[in-house]
């Protein structure tokens, strides 16, 4: 069944047809959310919020763009709002995870040290991605986490392909600069 048919079914009152849409797009929405929050539980909460919002505003979907493009827009906006709302909580969780990693050092010191280093490196990369300017971050997440083409990203962000290319280059340069310590 095509997405247009599914949407018509849902709008005519067949709520179960929405499950097919959820099953089709859940993976992408979850991956995009992961790119913004780096936590399974938070990404699942965002995925749920995205689909509920999509269901509520499905009648406003004008089919000018693809359903997936529209859904990606909702995902990006919901994720950015979620991150802005939970900045302090995120900071506390990161600190907690670091402490937990420190306290879990086993007798095998070499392995423990390696694990600690790996955790610290992962955290640095995540922080560097999180600290990118909003547009660069959105383009980067859509490109790296969802493997979308520049054209698709341009459609989602409603900008030109050239602008997307520029955003991705700047994001890359920013990340290189922030993570130069890792080399």
């Amino acid at each position: 069944m095509s997405e247009q048919q599914l949407i018509k079914e849902i709008l005519s009152g067949n709520t179960n047809a929405f499950k097919i849409l959820v099953d089709r797009h859940q993976g992408r929405v979850f991956r995009t959310a992961m790119g913004f929050v780096h936590s399974k539980e938070d990404a699942e909460d965002i995925t749920q919020e995205v689909f509920i919002q999509a269901f509520r505003s499905l009648s406003a979907f004008q089919e000018k763009s693809e359903f997936s493009t529209w859904l990606y827009r909702i995902t990006v906006n919901t994720s950015i709002n979620f991150v802005n709302r939970n900045k302090l909580r995120r900071l506390l969780i990161d600190t907690g995870e670091n402490l937990k990693a420190l306290l879990n050092i086993s007798s095998d010191e070499k392995n423990a040290h390696q694990r600690l280093e790996s955790n610290e490196r992962d955290l640095m990369v995540r922080n560097a991605i999180d600290n990118l300017p909003e547009k660069q971050r959105t383009a980067f997440v859509l490109s790296k986490y969802d493997d979308l083409s520049q054209r698709e990203i341009a459609n989602i962000m409603k900008i030109s392909e050239g602008a997307v290319e520029q955003l991705l280059q700047r994001a890359k340069a920013n990340l290189q600069k922030k993570l130069s310590r890792l080399q």
Binding site: F30, A43, F51, R56, D122, R126
Partner: protein, 97 residues
């Protein structure tokens, strides 16, 4: 290890994370709850009942207050005998009888 490889490695690790297999069921149950017309009606009536209860409590409170006010005695009762605690009103009432 080059910075790009490190970033790639971290991203790939995150991409391997799978969502809960029951996530779609969770989403659909939330939607079903939100969409149920019966629930909407119940929610409407629940707020109506709460508002009506508040109004009823206020009206009863005012009525009780008024009953007390209407039955107020014209005579003032004075306790002057502390050891016996007798109301002087009894003596006054007797004088009227």
């Amino acid at each position: 290890m080059k910075t790009e490889d490190v970033i790639h490695e971290v991203i790939e690790k995150e991409k391997q994370v799978e969502s809960n297999p029951f996530l779609s069921t969770r989403i659909m149950s939330k939607i079903a709850i939100e969409n149920a017309p019966l629930n909407k009606r119940i929610y409407f009536f629940r707020s109506l009942v709460v508002a009506a209860s508040f109004a009823l409590v206020i009206i009863i409170g005012i009525s009780i207050g008024k009953i007390y006010d209407e039955n107020k005695s014209e005579y003032m009762a004075l306790n002057i005998n502390d050891s016996q605690i007798e109301n002087l009103i009894y003596y006054i009432d007797m004088a009227y009888e």
